[in-house]
């Protein structure tokens, strides 16, 4: 693995070169160009300095291993890529940043419909659903006011998003229905388009709720961790029994009724199942085609957190999964793993890639009482209380920190080859582990980088 950086003419140049299963991949960080090098060209590339210039003394040593003609061909091809802006290109984005950070509006709310839950998942960042507070349910009045707040603060944005979250939102589903109907009555007059999503543990997903969700929700996230023994060790009812046998058939029915579109089954892995690839494959074997399984975010005292010493094994598991994933997709057993998804041709624009998820700015969480926090993971922490849907933003200076957060404001990110893919990482994780939203969570970074390497390798395999 090799990262080169340099800054001739003040522009930062960075490439990331690595080999995976015998394929040599080279990412030109600033342009987003991705190349597959043969072994000769890969070795020749290492003879180029940080400024993209060939270092002759290095190339002379290569002549002992490779024919002169092959070396010259590779040098010419590399120089062609450089001249076309596809290799050793400079970072030209920082000067554009001000135009993308001013006039920030709100476009997405995570509504905490219920600070209560009918499960007691052992890794839950929401405690047992109550988020450091008391158990409570959002009223329709608060929900409607949240819709008004979103419209009022959305400027010219047409597409607005509302995620019904918890705790468990199905425990307060009449309010979910009421909020959806209210938003629909407002969107035409306000020239807005609401997109609804819901994240549920599936337990209460009866026919009535499924029908409503399928009619009104653009996306549904169904929580299940994978194998029965893995799921049931973490996702337990109040009486300690696992929920797998109840939720698996209900999730299948839901997906079937949605036509296998616009959903994710989503799981969490902990240090207790670093063979999480088996859980991804189990969900695929059960017929799910849209799968997300994420590393847990938990404190060290939980015993479940992914630790520094777990990184090599977790990365090896991503690599193992990538190989099986590519083989299955090539053999007609297609499924999509959310964390290997990468749209190289399209994908988000550079403005989004620099600023990330938008927590605290474009994206906010609203509690059952109407309080506003930067995102769902900050809920209940007084320092990050930003206001309420009734009184608006309180002027808490913490919001400015989120508005000013981008990859250039984070030294670790500025120097990282993966910054345009993770976009600076999760602010909540950074705060949880480093007490600084601009200092990324290292374990999360290492896993993210491995996922991106795997995703690029999969793209190379599928491009052949």
């Amino acid at each position: 693995m090799r990262v080169l950086t340099g800054c001739p003419g003040k522009l930062v140049i960075m490439i990331h070169a690595y080999s995976m299963y015998g394929t040599n991949l080279v990412l030109d960080v600033s342009s987003g160009a991705v190349h597959v090098f043969d072994d000769t060209a890969f070795r020749v590339l290492k003879c180029f300095g940080q400024d993209g210039r060939l270092e002759e003394e290095k190339i002379s040593k290569l002549r002992e291993e490779f024919p002169e003609r092959e070396i010259r061909e590779a040098v010419d091809e590399i120089r062609t890529l450089i001249s076309e802006g596809l290799l050793f290109s400079g970072d030209i984005y920082e000067e554009h940043l001000p135009q993308w950070t001013r006039n920030t509006v709100v476009k997405a709310l995570c509504l905490h419909i219920a600070h209560d839950c009918n499960l007691r998942c052992k890794y839950c960042f929401a405690g047992t659903g109550e988020y450091l507070g008391e158990r409570s349910l959002m009223s329709l009045e608060v929900g409607m006011r949240a819709i008004d707040f979103l419209i009022e603060n959305s400027g010219n944005r047409r597409n607005l998003e509302v995620d019904f979250f918890g705790g468990e939102p199905l425990m307060n589903f009449d309010v979910v229905k009421g909020i959806v109907h209210y938003a629909r009555t407002r969107e035409r007059d306000c020239k807005k388009n609401f997109r609804f999503t819901i994240t549920t543990n599936v337990l209460l997903l009866d026919k009535d709720k499924r029908d409503f969700i399928n009619e009104h929700m653009d996306n549904v996230v169904l929580s299940i961790d994978g194998r029965k023994e893995v799921n049931d060790a973490m996702r337990q009812r109040l009486d300690g029994t696992g929920c797998y046998d109840r939720i698996l058939p209900l999730a299948k029915t839901m997906v079937e009724e949605r036509g296998h579109e616009n959903y994710y089954v989503r799981g969490t892995f902990t240090r207790n199942n670093l063979d999480f690839g088996e859980d991804v494959l189990h969900l695929a074997d059960e017929g799910f085609e849209q799968i997300s399984v994420e590393p847990v975010v938990a404190s060290a005292d939980s015993g479940l957190d992914i630790r520094e010493e777990d990184i090599p094994r977790a990365c090896a598991e991503y690599k193992r999964l990538a190989k099986i994933y590519a083989e299955r997709r090539a053999s007609g057993r297609w499924f999509n793993f959310f964390h290997f998804m990468l749209d190289l041709e399209g994908g988000p624009c550079i403005a989004k890639r620099l600023r990330g998820c938008g927590s605290g700015t474009e994206y906010l969480a609203v509690t059952p009482e109407g309080d506003i926090y930067p995102c769902h993971q900050f809920v209940g922490q007084p320092r990050f209380l930003l206001g309420s849907v009734f009184k608006g933003f309180s002027g808490n200076p913490e919001r400015e920190e989120f508005c000013n957060s981008n990859v250039y404001e984070k030294p670790e990110c500025r120097a990282c080859w993966a910054k345009y893919y993770c976009s600076g990482g999760c602010a909540a994780n950074a705060w949880k582990f480093n007490r600084d939203i601009k200092k990324p969570y290292r374990v999360g970074c290492e896993l993210e980088k491995k996922r991106i390497e795997c995703a690029l390798w999969i793209k190379a395999k599928e491009a052949r």
Binding site: R195, P348, G356, C357, Y363, C422, N429, E448
Partner: protein
């Protein structure tokens, strides 16, 4: 090219002036609620 195959061109620096419309989906509204995964989101203009 004989030694190098380009599987993706320079996609990040195209249309810089048109970037930042903000109409796309927020990443945490899709399927990640505990890790930031931005690059797999779709551009609303595509």
């Amino acid at each position: 090219m004989k030694h190098i195959k380009t599987i993706n061109g320079k996609t990040l620096n195209r249309d810089i002036k048109k970037a930042g419309c903000g109409e796309c989906q927020t990443s945490c509204q899709s399927a990640c609620k505990t890790s930031c995964t931005v690059a797999n989101q779709k551009c609303e203009k595509e």
